[in-house]
């Protein structure tokens, strides 16, 4: 009766006097060291958005350099001091900007900010639990993430600037402090921050998994879970299995940097001076990194997929098409994502034989992705579509995922990757699929669950403005990059002035930069909308989107323990929208079939023969009565 006693104790106690308990909760325990999953979700979200905006500003800074490589901007010197002497960002700092931009966006925005927010908010609410399995570790998870963010940003304060070896920190570049300024303290901080981050995501991950496994409410079997939960669950598993490998890689890197070992280093002469390293292999690091790195990119997209599926079903008032297929494709992606990492290393010196193998596995991943894409389209087909901002962003996510995914097919082909690797084609690919699709998934989630998080509604019109500017902006930014890539323009280049063949892209670069600035400005609409709605937004009703999932059965006013009384029991899958014969066009999961006799279908009772019997009896009696009349 033990631990559950502990953890149930908390719940019981909230049932009894949770309500009056609220106002005499101290500020610290309510807002700062909160153990309530809803508050932690908000903390993750707000930190995530802050990081996102910072990383976005970084991207604008280096875009300015790419657009006006010759111009000087005294303002930059004022802002960046020694990093931008006489009005121009220095070459090394450009790389720092890119590196930190990438790192923050991938890990801090789209891993912590996305999974962290929505796993914390939705898992307990949608599976019907009082809170996370371990609220305490949940809190720790956030605070580790917060620390990691602080450390990462603090690296802008060190003399030689932040890490600048690219977010993939390939050694030897990242291992030799003398190789470039950013590989000094900057890289050290990067590594420290990363270790904390992994700790955070690990604590989060095992929490999510055990919550989904153990704490589903009565009737919530796996095939009644919303796709968001499926996605977040599998994402958590990916994290648990992938991040530790990065830890191993990072540990070895730290030793190479600070303890004179040579795991990744061999035969190095750094500007004329022999280094005492021998026997290591840089490729080893690349394997360890990408064993995480590739699952990571699916960690980034899968929650977005789940969120979009949910939102598209709700707003086209139509069950998600092929629910089972959607789940199986998610599982397929999860499994496959562990055996394709080599596609980042086709031309890095990996054994060509492996290149061939990885190319096969990589292209297979397109199949589950295809299933998802087509099922989304089928969900819209003959729907009754409501264009809430959330819906628009979900659709944007699909559009971007198709575009970006298809470019992935080029890269996945080892033969083509020879000429595309590390060009702007790759940059275009991953921005479409991650910088746009995944971000849009996150934004969709924010718009959709804002009422649940803050009990207020966001302004729709501003939402529309935000969507169209960002959507068009992102396409304008990233579409042309493909063609730069096809012209062999390499990424991580400080300026395209030194190669005659690249100079003709300058106009395009200027255009891209201004498009980016526009898209960035559009985020102001979002931020204003977000913040103002928290305070002056109009009050939300309990179920503003007329959705079926459990979270909308909780009161608008948050209370620790989520449901005032008993946790509701679940009777049906979450996608009974526009069911023929039902009076409403949605039937929440908590409505028993006996209350919807007119709309029940045989298909609802696949795993309940008795129920099916009853249904048939009921229908036959109906017929009989009609004949009587």
């Amino acid at each position: 009766m033990s631990t559950l006693a502990v953890h149930d104790h908390g719940v019981a106690h909230h049932d009894d006097h949770g309500h009056e308990h609220h106002h005499n909760q101290s500020f610290l325990s309510k807002y700062v060291f909160s153990m309530d999953h809803k508050m932690i979700a908000k903390q993750f979200l707000i930190t995530g958005i802050t990081m996102a905006v910072i990383a976005m500003i970084l991207s604008i800074l280096f875009r300015i350099q790419l657009a006006y490589p010759e111009k000087t901007f005294p303002l930059l010197t004022t802002l960046l001091g020694r990093f931008a002497p006489n009005g121009r960002i220095s070459a090394d700092f450009y790389l720092s900007l890119v590196t930190i931009h990438g790192t923050i966006m991938v890990f801090f925005v789209l891993t912590a900010g996305l999974s962290g927010t929505f796993a914390n908010l939705l898992i307990p609410l949608q599976v019907g639990a009082r809170d996370m399995a371990s609220p305490f570790m949940n809190m720790l998870s956030y605070w580790f993430f917060f620390l990691a963010s602080v450390v990462m940003l603090s690296s802008f304060l060190v003399q030689k600037g932040p890490a600048s070896g690219g977010w993939t920190i390939y050694p030897p570049l990242s291992a030799l402090p003398k190789a470039m300024p950013g590989s000094g303290e900057g890289m050290t901080l990067w590594l420290i921050s990363m270790v904390m981050f992994v700790a955070s995501s690990l604590m989060g991950g095992i929490n999510y998994v055990s919550t989904v496994l153990n704490m589903r409410t009565k009737g919530m079997d796996l095939w009644k879970m919303p796709l968001t939960i499926w996605a977040l669950f599998l994402t958590a598993i990916l994290g648990i299995l992938a991040f530790p490998v990065l830890v191993a890689g990072v540990v070895l890197l730290i030793f190479d940097r600070s303890f004179g070992t040579s795991f990744y280093l061999s035969d190095i002469v750094l500007n004329g001076v022999q280094q005492p390293y021998e026997g290591g292999s840089p490729i080893l690091f690349q394997h360890l990194f990408w064993f995480l790195g590739h699952p990571e990119v699916y960690i980034v997209i899968m929650p977005a997929m789940g969120i979009s599926s949910e939102i598209m079903s709700v707003n086209s008032r139509k069950p998600i098409f092929g629910y089972h297929a959607m789940v199986y494709s998610l599982i397929g992606i999860t499994v496959l994502s562990f055996i394709v990492w080599g596609h980042h290393m086709f031309v890095t010196g990996m054994n060509p034989f492996l290149g061939g193998v990885f190319m096969i596995t990589t292209l297979i991943i397109a199949v589950p992705s295809a299933v998802k894409t087509f099922n989304w389209l089928a969900t819209l087909w003959r729907g009754n579509i409501r264009f809430t901002p959330a819906m628009l962003f979900a659709i944007g996510m699909v559009s971007f995922f198709i575009s970006g995914g298809l470019t992935g097919i080029f890269l996945g082909n080892a033969a083509l990757d020879i000429n595309l690797h590390d060009t702007y084609f790759v940059v275009a690919h991953f921005h479409l699929v991650m910088g746009s699709a995944a971000i849009f998934g996150m934004l969709a989630g924010v718009y959709h669950w804002f009422p649940k998080m803050f009990g207020k509604m966001m302004d729709e019109k501003l939402g529309y403005l935000h969507f169209w500017l960002t959507f068009i902006g992102a396409y304008l930014v990233f579409f042309p990059m493909h063609f730069m890539g096809l012209d062999g323009v390499p990424r991580r280049y400080y300026a395209f002035t030194e190669f005659v063949s690249m100079q003709r892209w300058l106009t395009v670069n200027t255009f891209i930069t201004w498009a980016a600035i526009m898209a960035a400005c559009a985020q102001v609409a979002f931020l204003y909308n977000f913040i103002s709605s928290i305070f002056i937004g109009k009050k939300a009703t309990q179920n503003p989107w007329e959705a079926n999932t459990l979270e909308w059965t909780t009161p608008v006013e948050h209370l620790h323990g989520n449901w005032p009384g008993e946790i509701p029991t679940v009777y049906r899958w979450p996608y009974d929208y526009s069911k023929p014969g039902a009076e409403e066009d949605y039937i929440p999961q908590t409505v028993p079939f006996s209350q919807t006799m007119s709309s029940n279908l045989p298909h609802d009772f696949e795993d309940n023969p008795k129920g099916l019997e009853e249904l048939n009896k009921f229908n036959s009696t109906l017929k009989a009565n009609e004949q009587v009349k």
């Binding site: 001091g81 264009f387 000429n419 590390d422 579409f479 062999g488 063949s501």
Partner: protein, 379 residues
């Protein structure tokens, strides 16, 4: 004296508005203010429009009408976006698409380009179809109170179809790609075919070093411990094969001859990237890699093709390697066999006089012979 104070003032002024960066140029704040103002004006405009819309909405409602149908508006915008987008994509393909690399200048490059065309065709079909369906549906099935959505949870046959269809397409791509890849990466000299020319290319921050074999056609072994100012690559001169090696500063390649690039790096990872030949492989310190290819178009021919008299093939560095990464190039000239031989005979041996001194070779008889045939080479 006066002058002095002036200077001083200038100083303080400078530091005042450049955050302690004496030598930094003046910020022209008016410019900044201008942009900020512009931005605020835009925001203001947006706000005003928003208000107007709200009021218009209200008036409509007051008149008992249904108010603005934002849903329909959005649906229409989706349609507009679809059309505009399709045109944009088309424009981008034609205009920017025409700015991409010229035809492949190597044997395997042609294969890669075929691969690329096939992939492009297949994926672009998918691209246009799916995007049209996506936005088409949005407009077609926009909300209306009269209709109810069509309850359709699943349909196994169609799901099977669109699982298998992509699977087939991808199998085609995989098989085609797999064999292309195998062919390209197959690095054993085919029987009968003359051994390919060995070219040694070594990357370091931030330049490429080239080394060609001499008469013996063999490159001498290297060891990073032997690197010195004069012996940049650490060539080992205990071995005879090293003596006639040549140091060159432009990569000359005979057309239609198989070339084997031996790729190395001294400090960090670099990447030998020759887009025109569709050649790329990383240069990894401690792990010599190589890439075999056959150039097919001479620089001269390419110049006429692109009617750009200044055109040059280039080696880029395509793996982040530090501050100079963006400017680490080497010129490649593809020439006829004759030109190549002529050029080759003009090249200086790697074993420079400075290096001889360093190695105290003056005494040894070996180098004497060396120097003679070097003279021979020179005239």
């Amino acid at each position: 004296m006066l002058l002095g104070t002036n200077l001083l003032m200038a100083q303080t002024e400078a530091t005042a508005n450049t955050g302690g960066q004496p030598d930094a140029p003046q910020v022209d704040w008016t410019g900044v203010a201008y942009y900020l103002l512009l931005f605020f004006l835009v925001c203001l405009g947006v706000a005003v429009i928003g208000k107007i819309l709200k009021i218009y909405d209200l008036t409509l409602k007051i008149q008992g009408k249904k108010g603005m149908k934002w849903n329909t508006v959005m649906a229409v915008v989706c349609l507009v976006f679809l059309i505009a987008g399709l045109y944009g994509a088309y424009w981008s393909f034609t205009v920017q698409g025409s700015m991409t690399l010229p035809e492949a200048a190597s044997v395997h490059g042609v294969k890669i380009d075929e691969m690329f065309t096939v992939t492009t065709v297949l994926t672009m079909i998918v691209f246009f179809v799916t995007q049209i369906l996506l936005f088409g549906f949005l407009f077609q099935y926009r909300h209306s109170d009269k209709r109810r959505a069509h309850f359709l949870p699943h349909n196994n046959t169609i799901e099977k179809i669109w699982t298998i269809a992509p699977a087939i397409v991808l199998t085609i791509l995989v098989v085609f790609g797999f064999f292309t890849w195998q062919k390209i990466m197959d690095n054993t000299d085919a029987k009968g075919e003359p051994a390919s020319i060995n070219v040694d290319i070594t990357g370091h921050q931030f330049a490429w070093e080239l080394r060609y074999p001499g008469k013996d056609g063999k490159l001498g072994p290297k060891d990073f411990r032997l690197v010195t100012a004069a012996n940049k690559l650490g060539v080992n001169f205990k071995k005879r094969s090293s003596f006639d090696d040549l140091q060159v500063d432009t990569m000359y390649l005979p057309v239609n001859k198989s070339v084997r690039l031996n790729i190395q790096a001294l400090d960090v990872i670099h990447s030998v990237y020759m887009p025109h030949f569709r050649v790329q492989l990383n240069a990894v310190p401690g792990l010599p890699t190589f890439f075999k290819f056959t150039p097919t178009i001479t620089t001269a021919q390419m110049r006429t093709q692109l009617d750009d008299p200044k055109f040059e093939y280039l080696v880029y560095c395509n793996k982040i390697c530090g501050g100079g990464h963006y400017n680490m190039q080497k010129v490649v000239r593809v020439v006829t066999e004759a030109e190549y031989q002529a050029w080759l005979s003009r090249q200086k041996p790697y074993l420079s006089d400075a290096l001889r001194k360093e190695l105290h070779f003056a005494a040894a008889d070996q180098p004497k012979k060396e120097s003679q045939n070097r003279l021979a080479l020179n005239n």
